[in-house]
């Protein structure tokens, strides 16, 4: 009935972007380990997405669509700094990105479930473990800095192992909850 094409819906876009931003961030961080420019890449990807938003088919999940932009911007970033840093092989990058896209498809509409699951898993940790995670992920200290602060016993290597163990526990817990949600 209305002869005009619909205007791109900025509110919708903002909402979708915010819902999926962490997935994009995860992909960028995975593809470029230790990247210090994640924010920049995400911003570039967001702007590109907005320019193309009229092409986005609202019947399809937004996550995979968004991740193609994150993937592309990450590859472009790696291309720009080809010489300066070690990087993962193309084969690995592809595996990672495909894996992220398939996750995004299966979580469509339930993006926040994971965060809820993680919240619940976090609540099971002891105060000391919470403190450990807080120093690293809340305060943003590196493991070396934490080891040097002397707040926790143990060497840097031991701390790496502690964090790895915590990470594994959280991962198991989230996966378990994810299954029960599915």
């Amino acid at each position: 009935m209305d002869p005009h094409p619909p205007a791109p819906d900025g509110a919708l876009f903002a909402r979708l972007l915010i819902t999926h931003e962490r997935q994009m961030r995860t992909l960028v961080r995975s593809m470029i380990p230790g990247c210090r420019d994640v924010d920049e890449i995400i911003q570039d990807a967001s702007v590109a997405m907005w320019k193309k938003f009229h092409e986005y088919d609202a019947h399809r999940p937004f996550g995979p669509w968004a991740l193609t932009f994150a993937r592309f911007q990450s590859l472009a970033y790696l291309e720009r700094r080809k010489r300066t840093a070690a990087r993962l092989s193309d084969e690995s990058l592809e595996k990672i990105a495909d894996c992220a896209a398939s996750d995004a498809r299966s979580w469509d509409g339930r993006e926040s479930d994971r965060q809820v699951a993680l919240d619940e898993c976090m609540a099971k940790l002891t105060p000391k473990e919470t403190r450990l995670l807080g120093r690293r992920y809340g305060d943003g200290l590196t493991v070396t800095e934490i080891a040097e602060s002397g707040e926790f016993r143990g060497s840097r290597e031991a701390l790496y192992k502690t964090y790895a163990r915590l990470s594994r526990r959280l991962l198991d817990c989230v996966r378990l909850k994810g299954d029960s949600i599915n």
Partner: protein, 985 residues
């Protein structure tokens, strides 16, 4: 097992590598190892991705976030180079999102104007439009419903704004401590005796301070000696509280609050909402001149604590639109706006308030939230979903609101109208409140189980509606958080357990399926007709009875012949009956066989009589189905015994109980009748701590978007604390002291300076008070879908405005009911003006509600808080639903007929009619462009124009060129879909 172990090692190795890489260490080596793993192991990519995902999401978890906040507030930074990458990352996305949103809002107009789609919108344009228009518009994108809030920013925690300096000087139990204990401790150390651990009740002062072989859980005045605090600090996983596997965490900030409270004497208080409100002293804010009534004094002094100035008053046009939508649910007409604008005498606004309070539409608007609470619907729900006549009760509500029936009387009539001396029909109809529950008449439904469900539903609805309590929890066990025992629940349920009902739909007429007790309300004609048919049926039956011997003899002969040679039309049951007559012998009186015989094979004389009887019966049933019959409450003479039901199972009765109110609340009068009347009087007793607060809170929610207690449905321990406790108590006592004068309360709220503020968002407040709980500006929210429909019909001139009556059937997609009713019902739309009644009168089928009324409660159970989302589907509906399209084209006809001769005057006319103001230059330009585009489109596609003209029942005007008509219809559709039309600002 082995593969599992291997997997765990892999997970750990990847986590270590990822960790090192994140820290920028061992770069090349770690990357190579990781790459090797990902390429060689199928699982590795996913494990790696999940590991990074956890690292990405961790900073946003409640635990880390609240910890970070506590650090910011309480502790000096650990090292000067502290970085907050996660926090920064979150903030960084916001400017992009906000800029995009702002851009789109502005550009939706600009685009139409010059036909260019801008790709990089900037913030600068918003100020441009703002200054161009005389009326300052709300800054789009900030604070409006279209943007998802960063929920955890600002000093609003759990919806209540936390005062500056996160740990208050004086810590009190109700304001600070209870929520911490309730959230983290009461589940195991609370009111529920069956779940209590360690013989400790933290909700009881006596138990918490008692000596336990040399130590105390709480040692008033001495936090360091209190086991409560020591256990929070405990490092051992076995002894720390709350236990790690409970999923609960007390933050450092919360612990410090507990410490301070104990140091200050650990004084307990009863739950605030269970203590009767005292008349609060009205505070004296500094800027006293701003206030118009006591509400403002409370609001302003709170704002002054935060050094925030209130907003200026909204412009008169916006104000009248707001007021009109809130009080009568319809926008003002251009004439009403003009009259208000030209009223320069003092009291102009108050005169508008009085006009609207006196409008018959006031009751229609105010009935809506009450209908949601009362789970009002026109059908029974469940699979069969038969119809019911519930609308006389709905009309009773509308009338009561219009009459300004005092709320105590309004309550008593609904809860116990039947128990008043010589109740009027209206008072009986009022009791239908407690019969609005669903009725389950499915094949497998067990009547006694259903009857119990109806009793439970009455308890839950009454408790939520009047007391703001979630009583349902206590149906199966003592309430975990509120001092409400399972026994309390069943004592309360005993009030509703004494209805002479059987759990079946035992009153039926055609599609109507009701359950006794029922009040029939035949019109005089119907009563006469019914008697008449009954008498005529009786006469016919007597004719047959006179010939009984002959008929019986003939039937025996017929049976003998027929069973040898049964006709095809004979059904299985009758065939079996016939066969039995062989063995048992027959006297020719079996009624089922008699019926068949008389209808099919008897001599003409008898057949004719039976035919007449059948016809008369059909007619009688039609009359009967037309008679309005309302389900009402009645009391059995002999009291049905009520038992505590173990786990809420009706087959597991325990202790027998008598009617009574919850013990933790104030006592019933000892001489109060032990029935619903006693309950009703208790509900509206001035001593009742809850009812007045709960009701004024919902009025507040109606006018300000959010209640003073945000959890309007839960005033219990788990509910939110009021944002302005003293104001809530002042309003509650005011309500009681003025004789429960509903209109007085609405008047107070809408005439306050607080209400009259502009709703324009203030960027400086977004962080401090994102939910606008301090009310430094007016509330702004999307109109409920029902009111959007009414507004469109109203603007077009289609809306039929008479009050009350049977429900109507406006347009809805074909086949919808059919699909949802196992193909039993079909939906026949009304015709004529019934299509254009207010949404309140739309027939409400419980299994499939009206599809164009988005976000409406499902009317299956009590609901006292509406939801507002703006799903894109709603926009598609307001653009394409026949109701809206027809309204648009009827509006177009109006524009073309009364809007003058030029496009300019016509567009202005359209804008004024729908939005009450002239369009700005930008807006007029945009509409003009749209109009031209439509014209050129319809010039090329005349068939589309013709098709558009046939949507809905109204005739298209003959005198207007189709192309012009269709183009203006498009314009009308655009106006009906502007933010301003859909929003109450």
């Amino acid at each position: 097992m082995d593969s599992n172990r291997k997997n765990q090692d892999l997970v750990r190795r990847i986590a270590i590598l990822a960790s090192r890489l994140e820290d920028g260490e061992d770069n090349a080596e770690a990357v190579d190892e990781l790459d090797e793993l990902i390429r060689s192991d199928r699982e590795a990519a996913r494990i790696y991705l999940d590991t990074i995902r956890i690292a990405t999401e961790l900073p946003y978890t409640d635990v880390i976030e609240s910890r970070g906040l506590a650090n910011e507030l309480l502790q000096p930074p650990l090292s000067p180079v502290l970085s907050f990458p996660a926090r920064f990352a979150r903030i960084a996305v916001w400017p992009i999102a906000a800029a995009l949103v702002v851009g789109v809002f502005v550009f939706s107009l600009r685009k139409a104007e010059n036909g260019i789609v801008e790709s990089r919108p900037t913030l600068a344009h918003s100020t441009e439009t703002e200054s161009k228009q005389g009326v300052p518009r709300e800054m789009p994108g900030i604070g409006s419903a279209t943007v998802v809030h960063p929920a955890k920013t600002g000093r609003v925690k759990g919806g209540v704004v936390v005062s500056k300096g996160s740990i208050p000087e004086t810590v009190t139990f109700n304001a600070h401590v209870r929520s911490i204990l309730s959230e983290n401790c009461f589940f195991c150390h609370g009111p529920d005796a069956n779940k209590r651990e360690g013989e400790l009740r933290l909700d009881s002062f006596e138990d918490a301070i008692r000596d336990r072989d040399g130590y105390q859980v709480i040692a008033p005045g001495n936090a360091a000696e209190s086991e409560l605090i020591l256990r929070l600090l405990e490092e051992s996983e076995e002894d720390v509280m709350p236990p790690p596997d409970s999923g609960r965490v007390v933050t450092a900030e919360q612990r410090r609050i507990l410490e301070r409270w104990i140091e200050q004497g650990a004084e307990y208080e009863g739950h605030w909402a269970f203590i009767s409100p005292l008349r609060s002293e009205v505070p004296k804010p500094e800027n006293y001149d701003w206030t118009r009534n006591p509400i403002d004094s409370f609001i302003l002094s709170r704002l002054e604590e935060e050094s925030i100035a209130p907003s200026s008053e909204a412009d008169r046009r916006t104000l009248l639109r707001r007021l009109s939508l809130d009080l009568i649910g319809l926008p003002p007409t251009p004439e009403e706006i003009a009259s208000f604008l030209s009223d320069t005498f003092s009291g102009a606004y108050e005169r508008q308030v009085e006009r609207l309070l006196a409008s018959p539409h006031f009751g229609e608007r105010m009935a809506l939230p009450w209908l949601d609470a009362a789970r009002y619907a026109d059908s029974n729900g469940f699979q069969q979903d038969g119809d019911r006549h519930a609308w006389p009760w709905r009309d009773w509500v509308v009338d009561s609101m219009n009459e300004n029936k005092p709320f105590d009387q309004f309550t008593i009539e609904q809860i116990a109208g039947d128990l008043l001396g010589e109740p009027t029909n209206d008072q009986l109809i009022a009791t239908s409140f407690n019969r609005n529950h669903m009725l389950n008449n499915e094949g497998g439904a067990i009547p006694e189980e259903q009857r119990n469900n109806y009793v439970f539903d009455r308890v839950d609805t009454t408790a939520t509606t009047w007391l703001g309590m979630t009583m349902a929890c206590a149906q199966c066990h003592d309430h975990k958080y509120d001092a409400l025992t399972q026994k309390d629940y069943y004592r309360f349920s005993a009030y509703f357990n004494n209805v002479p009902e059987g759990g079946r739909a035992d009153y039926r007429a055609n599609r109507i399926m009701l359950a006794e007790p029922v009040l029939e309300l035949p019109t005089e004609d119907q009563a006469k007709e019914r008697d008449d048919f009954k008498a005529r049926i009786q006469t016919e039956k007597e004719k047959l009875e006179a010939a009984e011997l002959e008929i019986a003899a003939a039937q025996v002969k017929w049976e003998i012949i027929t069973r040898e040679n049964p006709p095809k039309s004979l059904d299985r049951n009758r065939f079996l009956l016939l066969r039995n007559t062989v063995t048992e012998g027959s006297d020719g009186t079996n009624p089922s066989l008699r019926r068949y015989y008389l209808e099919n094979d008897a001599p003409e004389e008898w057949k004719a009589i039976q035919k007449t009887i059948n016809q008369l019966n059909n007619q009688l049933e039609k009359v009967q189905a037309g008679i309005v019959a309302v389900m009402i409450m009645e009391e059995r003479e002999e009291r049905r015994e009520t038992f505590v039901l173990n786990r809420g199972d009706y087959e597991s009765p325990g202790e027998s109980v008598l009617p009574g109110t919850p013990e933790a609340l104030f006592d019933l009068d000892t001489d109060a009748p032990s029935n619903r009347l006693g309950l009703a009087e208790w509900l509206v007793s001035p001593e009742n701590p809850l009812t007045a607060r709960v009701i004024v809170n919902r009025y507040w929610q109606h006018h300000f978007g959010t209640g003073l207690v945000k959890t309007a449905e839960d005033f219990g321990v788990q509910g939110e604390q009021p944002s302005h406790p003293a104001l809530l108590d002042w309003l509650a006592t005011e309500f009681v002291e003025t004789g429960w004068d509903m209109k007085h309360m609405h008047r107070l709220m809408v005439t306050s300076a607080t209400y009259r503020q502009s709703s324009k968002a203030r960027p400086e407040l977004v962080d401090v008070d994102p939910e606008n709980r301090l009310l430094a500006r007016g509330a702004r929210f999307r109109l409920p879908a029902m009111l959007i429909r009414d507004s469109a019909l109203f603007a077009s001139g289609l809306l039929r405005t008479d009050v009350g009556g049977r429900p109507v059937y406006p347009y809805q997609p074909e086949g919808l009911w059919h699909e949802f009713s196992f193909e039993q019902f079909s939906y026949t739309p009304s015709s004529g003006t019934d299509l254009y009644r207010r949404s309140l009168y739309t027939f409400w089928r419980r299994t499939i509600g009206p599809p164009n009324m988005f976000d409406s409660p499902n009317r299956q159970v009590c609901q006292v808080k509406g939801a507002t989302t703006n799903t894109p589907l709603h926009a598609l509906t307001t653009l394409n639903d026949p109701t809206f399209v027809e309204a648009a084209r009827v509006f177009a006809e109006r524009i073309l007929t009364y809007g003058g001769e030029t496009d300019e005057t016509r567009l202005s006319y359209a804008f004024r009619q729908a939005l009450g103001r002239d369009p700005s230059d930008v807006e007029a330009g945009a509409l003009n462009t749209a109009l031209e585009r439509s014209r050129s489109y319809y010039r090329d596609s005349p068939d589309d124009a013709a098709a558009l003209a046939t949507v809905g029942e109204s005739d298209a005007p003959e005198a207007i060129a189709m192309e012009e008509y269709a183009s203006y219809t498009n314009v009308a559709q655009i106006i009906f879909n502007t933010d301003e039309f859909l929003t109450r600002e």
